[in-house]
Amino acid sequence: MTYLGDILTGATCRLVDLGGEAGFRRRLLELGLVPGTSLRVVRRVPVGGLLELEVRRCRLTLRTSEAALVQVEPT
């Protein structure tokens, strides 16, 4: 199984499943991270432990620790 945190910067993947608690999953869903959506990892900021994603041409950031809860498959 692959998680969003494992995806290389610049690579794309498809969202498979969201982990974490209900509130977190809802927030991700409503920001457009619905299973089946394709994502691109735009950049990482190692100092802050953050990840920037592109979804539907829109930008989103989340913490690396939380990206580890997002299951993806590379495309």
Binding site: G20, A22, G23, F24, R25, R26, R27, L28, L29, E30, L31, G32, V34, P35, G36, T37, V42, R43, V45, P46, V47, G48, G49, L50, E52, V55, R56, R57, C58, R59, L60, T61, L62, R63, E66
Partner: protein
């Protein structure tokens, strides 16, 4: 209950960074009334807009949100305001602002609002940026699919404003033309059954017998309610219904919220290519190029640090001439009034109480305006979203929000503008936690106090020595460390909050709209003067009264001595005699202060502060310092019979303080006592203006009271430890 008024109410909703403030500013011409939503710390802004044919609307600025779903009362404001749930008024129409460059995600909110069956106009903002990125917006397609009027605008350049107003006018005249019904409807009968089951528990006051609205609110409940949400004003049976719907779906191996959100996004994804078309090759956006540097692991941090140095420098130094000008002007006005009016109680009240008090409020304005200028620039350009990105890990380690960094830094200059600037954080808990630790940062008002005390125990003529410098740096470090520790402790106890995932939309960089920045600066300054200012003014009049009354007669010895000197002066004036008179007047002022209520209160305090090594004269200084910390210096000057204008550099004051002794002849200001007093000043919330600002921002007296008590307790304990511990170790 909502009262029907002749002027229609139009709500302006949109995602954060959709350019909503700039649009609000454009439409209202910058005039708005600000109040708090009942019982909350969220501000409600409303302005009037004249429509082309001549009608007028009230435009309501709804807090920015990417969804109507909510987990806390603060987040629920968006739903309350857009849908007009009781006790709020139902809007006659809603303008939804979407960012054209982030269209798909912003349409999600538009779909939710259309579901509520209110007349909607969609304004696609940043139309000019779309063109620059080689994208083409097809408003006609968007309008056809959404079923509501759509207009491409640019709030920055003003493009599309008249058309937007015309559309609002049309929609208000024919509401049904912009109420197309929900765009996405659950097709699956089981799913629909679950949703309608929840719909049965939506109160009538919410759905107002509109079936579309009932279903929209049922969807809201399904996406918002949880066993552990922080919503208080939701009927228990609605929550129960939402939870059982989730349970039923889980039993059938399905996920209710995912199916609903997916339904809406599928609707958008199937049409997105018709709404926006790419012409030519997509290129690396300028924002991405900029972020390569600005979010660079090392360089990004350095650039941020550089920017913060500028912000800090401006508050600390550039504000000074303006502050000085305000102080001089008010002193001048006071002096003129004193000349014009007959001497007496009312003149004293007017000059020393009211005029000085108003000056004491306005003196904060330069720093407030400067800080909100920088914050406005950072928010409008999109850099503020990156600040959380850059500072997240550092601030999170003590439980603070990444955006708390800017207020914390500003507090080194002054806690008052810093408290006001916590508003950049969306969550109430993050704001309150930051406010509770801001006063522990070493503000510039502590510098004169530290200056005096360091000078008091250092050997004369050793100014500027390394030890003194290090001691000052030590006080800065001490305040900062305690503030961070306090944040860590309070964040786990009093202001315990659920760990919130950091999910940020990264807006593209944009040119700031200076008119909007300016309007926000003026707005914040106005709110401060009106709401915190009145409290500060009343407190300063109170402080003046405490320090002035009772008006006792001068002691006979002093009166006769003064008469003697005056007589000699009249006969043959010499500089020595003039100095003698000044000294006698200072003695009289000192005698008066020692007998005043503040002086008596200082004596009363002595048993409480004696274990910290402080005598009652220091107690009087502490009472006076409540007006503002630097007042400690002038209060000590008066207590020690030095002229009141003395500052911390004044040689006589320094000397008197060095010589001050207890009745038994021991020195008062030993190095240990000075240290203990500095520690006290570092921690105690000795500042009525900060407390007034916290009262205004938390909309309650509870938080300023808590702040005062916990900072005071912390100060007492720390000073006790320093003084008694120091004595045990044999220091003096």
């Amino acid at each position: 209950m909502a009262v029907a008024t002749a002027t229609p109410l139009v709500a302006l909703a949109g995602n954060p960074n959709a350019g909503k403030s700039a649009l609000f500013n454009r439409l209202t011409g910058g005039r708005a009334r600000v109040a708090n939503y009942p019982g909350l710390t969220v501000e409600r802004e409303e302005g009037r807009v004249t429509l082309p044919v001549g009608g007028e609307i009230r435009l309501l600025d709804v807090p920015g949100t990417y969804s109507l779903a909510a987990r806390s009362e603060d987040e629920r404001i968006a739903l309350l305001a857009v849908a007009g749930l009781p006790p709020l008024e139902v809007p006659d129409a809603v303008i939804v602002v979407v960012d054209g460059t982030q269209l798909a995600r912003h349409l999600y909110l538009a779909l939710q609002i259309i579901e509520l069956d209110l007349p909607v106009v969609v304004a696609v903002n940043f139309a000019d940026d779309l063109a620059k990125e080689g994208m083409e917006l097809h408003s006609v397609e968007l309008e056809r699919h959404l079923g509501v009027p759509v207009i491409a605008i640019s709030a920055l350049s003003g493009q599309g404003m008249d058309e937007l107003k015309r559309l609002v006018e049309r929609v208000l005249a024919e509401p049904d033309s912009a109420r197309p019904g929900p765009r996405w409807v659950a097709q699956d009968p089981t799913l629909l059954g679950w949703i309608d089951e929840v719909g049965r528990c939506v109160p009538e006051a919410w759905h107002r017998n509109n079936e579309r609205r009932r279903r929209a609110l049922a969807l809201w409940a399904v996406l918002s309610l949880e066993p552990d949400d922080e919503l208080h004003d939701v009927p228990a049976d609605l929550r129960l219904a939402a939870l059982s719907a989730h349970a039923a779906a889980r039993a059938a191996n399905r996920t209710l919220d995912e199916e609903i959100v997916r339904g809406r996004y599928d609707w958008i994804d199937q049409r997105a290519d018709r709404f926006l078309r790419q012409r030519g090759q997509p290129r690396v956006s300028r924002s991405d190029q900029a972020d390569r540097w600005l979010l660079h692991p090392a360089l990004g941090f350095l650039l941020f640090a550089g920017l913060m140095v500028v912000v800090f420098q401006s508050l600390f130094t550039w504000a000074d001439p303006m502050i000085g000008a305000i102080e001089v002007s008010f002193a001048w006005i006071g002096a003129r009034v004193q000349e014009l009016l007959p001497a007496g109680f009312l003149t004293d009240l007017l000059v020393e109480g009211v005029i000085a008090g108003v000056g004491g409020v306005l003196v904060f304005l330069p720093q407030i305006l400067l800080l909100f200028f920088f914050i406005g620039l950072m928010e409008d350009t999109g850099y503020m979203a990156r600040v959380a990105f850059i500072m997240d890990r550092l601030m999170r380690s003590v439980g603070l929000h990444g955006r708390a960094f800017v207020p914390m830094l500003s507090a080194y200059a002054c806690a008052v503008p810093a408290v006001l600037s916590t508003r950049t954080m969306e969550r109430q808990r993050d704001r309150f936690l930051t406010m509770m630790v801001l006063p522990l940062m070493t503000c510039s008002a502590r510098l004169p106090v530290y200056g005096l005390l360091i000078a008091a125990f250092a050997a004369p003529n050793s100014e500027g020595s390394l030890t003194q410098g290090l001691l000052l740096v030590g006080m800065y470090v001490f305040g900062t460390v305690v503030a961070l520790l306090a944040a860590a402790v309070l964040g786990r106890t009093v202001l315990k909050g659920k760990r919130v995932p950091l999910l940020l939309q990264m807006p593209p960089y944009r040119r700031p709209h200076l008119a909007t920045v300016w309007r926000r600066m003026v707005l914040r300054a106005g709110i401060f003067v009106k709401q915190a200012g009145t409290v500060i003014l009343l407190c300063s009049i109170g402080m003046w009264a405490l320090l002035t009354f009772p008006k006792a007669e001068r002691s006979p010895e002093l009166t006769s001595a003064m008469a003697q000197v005056e007589a000699q002066l009249a006969a043959a004036p010499t500089p020595e005699l003039e100095q003698q008179l000044v000294d006698l007047e200072s003695s009289a002022a000192g005698e008066h202060l020692r007998n005043s209520y503040a002086g008596r209160f200082g004596r009363l305090l002595e048993p409480v502060i004696e274990p910290l090594g402080f005598d009652w004269k220091i107690g009087v200084g502490l009472v006076g310092a409540f007006a503002a910390r630097e007042v400690f210096v002038s209060t000590m000057a008066v207590v020690y019979n030095v002229e009141a204008e003395a500052d911390e550099e004044n040689a006589t004051l320094r000397e008197r303080i060095r010589e001050a002794s207890w009745p038994d002849g021991r020195r008062v200001f030993t190095p240990l006592v000075c240290l203990s007093l500095m520690v006290f000043f570092a921690l105690a919330c000795q500042c009525m203006s900060t407390l007034a600002a916290v009262k205004r921002e938390t909309n309650s007296w509870r938080w300023p009271a808590f702040l005062f008590v916990y900072n005071g307790a912390l100060a007492w304990i720390a000073s006790f430890a320093v003084f008694q511990g120091g004595r045990l170790l044999g220091f003096e």
